[in-house]
């Protein structure tokens, strides 16, 4: 237990510091703009760090390092998709959304459409995507706590899920966007520092010779050169064409999903101008890019120094590769105390990462519930600001409570696929609706609603009938077999369905508003009439 006392202490310090910031931020959170968008007063650099904080989830830190440690090169494929995706956000979405929207993704979609059906669809999609993502993170937190903090009982896991859930509710309800953004900034700095520290130690251990690191990793993985080539994880050869198509399907969802993730999109509203939104994405790309290069070294380093076998024994998915590596390299370089300290740092950082990401997701989904579903659909735009903020806080509490309960029930299920599903839904439903809204004059209500529901429903239905839900030993329900759809990732089919549904819905309806298109086009490119920052 002594080994874990330091991890827990460091984590408690992080929680205390971020709670302090959250309560401090809450003093200046009065208007709806403060609550939803942090008063639009963050700088490009601050928001760039927060983008990194929101995006670098435990799935990318522990998950990618783990996949690389067990399956070698294939983990790198994820990193590349996750990074290249940011160019879609930079070139096509960030600035235009900042100029034409207010608080949520639906603000842009509903701009020239009939608001109620479009906001309903966007709200449903936002909440669905966020809950999938949240659930995967919550269950991940329960699974990790045993390995990181030495808590292995079922009661301990449930306790962890409850604590994570309660903390994220406090961050969001008390601090709103301002508090949540500061949590992301602190977490991003800690995560980058922790990952950079271990990376430097690993590289130093190999005399900064990447080739020698890779050679040792290949040897210690027990898989030889195949470890450095694509294809181990996706069993491309064993599964033939299906494995290859699955890889392409995953690649598509990763690269197109980011610019449709609601918790990422609302980040663009927290800065004063479109130029700051651009700057924040540039900083985000820099931070995220460097981070994924670090995870590459961490993953191969874990394989080389800890060995794939020892990692798989701890956790079948390899999620503990990074902490195990920290312990190993610390012990080798600085003895037992060094190992304990380094492990404690990485474990605390991993937990801070989970906490920050779930807070961002809760904020995005509760904002959409209050602003889209309550204020515009239910109250038809007649709600006051104070009513809206109150409902947003209640919704954050409700969504938090729901994800705690679901997280407890799902704690022994394999729900890791939910992150990929969230990306697939974002790419299939949200992205077509956003791009058509910004760039296609003829686009209309029927098109927006068809794109969102078409993409959302096709992605979810295909996953339900895929091998991740039934028919395989690692599936959600290993005992059943209704897996008629062969691919694990639905993107290859559902993304074209989303774009096509948006197109067909549009041309089948005669509605279209040239005046409002002129307005969104002029506003999105010039920033005229864009929402201003509030002065605090």
């Amino acid at each position: 237990m002594n080994d874990h006392a330091l991890s827990i202490t460091l984590f408690v310090v992080f929680v205390a510091a971020t709670l302090g910031i959250t309560f401090w931020a809450s003093r200046n959170t009065k208007s709806a703009t403060d609550y939803y968008a942090g008063g639009r007063s963050f700088s490009g650099v601050q928001n760039g760090l927060a983008i990194g904080g929101d995006y670098m989830s435990a799935a990318s830190f522990l998950g990618i390092a783990g996949i690389i440690a067990l399956s070698g090169y294939d983990g790198f494929l994820y990193s590349i998709g996750f990074l290249v995706a940011w160019l879609v956000a930079l070139l096509l979405v960030a600035e235009l959304m900042r100029n034409s929207g207010k608080f949520t993704m639906a603000d842009v979609l509903a701009f020239r459409m009939s608001p109620r059906p479009v906001r309903t669809a966007a709200g449903v999609s936002t909440i669905t995507v966020s809950i999938f993502y949240l659930l995967a993170q919550m269950v991940g937190a329960g699974a990790l706590v045993g390995l990181l903090f030495g808590i292995t009982s079922d009661a301990g896991k449930i306790g962890t899920i409850v604590v994570v859930g309660l903390l994220m509710i406090i961050y969001v309800v008390v601090g709103g966007m301002k508090g949540t953004t500061w949590v992301q900034i602190v977490k991003a700095v800690l995560l980058m520092s922790g990952a950079a520290l271990v990376t430097l130690l690993v590289l130093g251990h190999f005399g900064f010779n990447l080739s020698s690191l890779l050679g040792t990793a290949a040897q210690q993985s027990g898989k030889g050169d195949a470890f450095l080539n694509p294809g181990l994880k996706y069993g491309v050869e064993a599964k033939g064409i299906v494995g290859k198509l699955d890889l392409i399907s995953l690649g598509l969802a990763l690269v197109l999903g980011t610019a449709g993730l609601p918790h990422i999109l609302i980040r663009f509203y927290t800065v004063p101008t479109a130029r700051d939104a651009r700057k924040s994405v540039l900083w985000g790309i820099g931070i995220i890019g460097v981070f994924y290069l670090l995870t590459l070294v961490l993953g191969f380093g874990a394989a080389a120094l800890v060995g794939s076998k020892a990692i798989a024994e701890q956790n079948k998915a390899g999620n503990t590769a990074a902490p195990q590596l920290a312990l190993e390299i610390g012990q080798r370089l600085f003895g037992d105390v060094g190992g304990t300290v380094l492990l404690a740092i990485i474990a605390a950082v991993a937990f801070a990462t989970i906490l920050a990401v779930v807070a961002g997701l809760t904020l995005a989904s509760s904002s959409s519930f209050a602003h889209d579903l309550y204020a515009h659909v239910f109250k038809r735009g007649q709600a006051t600001e104070q009513q809206e903020i109150k409902v947003a806080r209640i919704a954050a509490f409700g969504i938090g409570a729901v994800s705690i309960v679901l997280g407890i029930f799902a704690q022994n299920l394999n729900v890791a696929f939910l992150v990929a599903l969230a990306f697939a839904v974002a790419a299939s439903g949200n992205l077509p609706a956003i791009l058509y809204s910004l760039f296609w004059k003829r686009f209309n209500t029927a098109g927006a609603v068809s794109a969102i529901y078409g993409g959302l429903v096709s992605a979810v239905v295909l996953v339900i009938f895929s091998p991740v839900v039934s028919g395989t030993p690692t599936a959600l329900f290993p005992g059943a077999a209704f897996n008629w759809f062969p691919l694990e990732n639905p993107g290859l089919v559902s993304i074209p369905i989303g774009f096509l549904a948006g197109y067909i819905g549009t041309v089948l309806s005669k509605e279209y508003n040239a005046g409002k298109y002129a307005e969104i086009e002029v506003r999105s490119l010039t920033g005229a009439g864009a929402e201003k920052a509030t002065g605090h």
């Binding site: 294809g231 790309i285 920033g527 009439g529």
Partner: protein
């Protein structure tokens, strides 16, 4: 409702103006082809990872193979495109959008 109609037609006038058409052209002519290019470049990488594993596994020097270099090149191209877009926006888009926004805010204050 009338004000709303007037506002819309003011936007339509700006939309039809030569300055705005030039801004729109400069933005789209850069962003759209580059988006297609980086998506094709990325998909090429993904497809080669699935279908040309022999080629991707070729060692170039030491234990560094084509797959790793190709992957790192995706990082490099992402950084370069981001930098080039920032430069393009700074030089070609911002001055024009500032000018248009200034004109529109002046008219709406009169």
């Amino acid at each position: 409702m009338t004000t709303r109609h007037d506002a819309s037609s003011a936007y339509e006038q700006v939309q039809a103006s030569p300055d705005f058409q030039e801004l729109r052209r400069r933005y789209r002519n850069w962003a759209f082809p580059v988006t297609v290019a980086f998506l094709v470049w990325y998909l090429l990488y993904v497809i080669l990872s699935g279908f040309a594993r022999g080629f991707m596994g070729t060692k170039v020097f030491g234990n560094i193979n084509v797959a790793l270099i190709f992957g790192v090149l995706q990082f490099v191209s992402t950084f370069l495109i981001a930098w080039a877009y920032a430069r393009h926006a700074d030089r070609k888009l911002d001055p024009l959008s500032d000018k248009l926004r200034g004109e529109m805010e002046k008219t709406s204050n009169e």
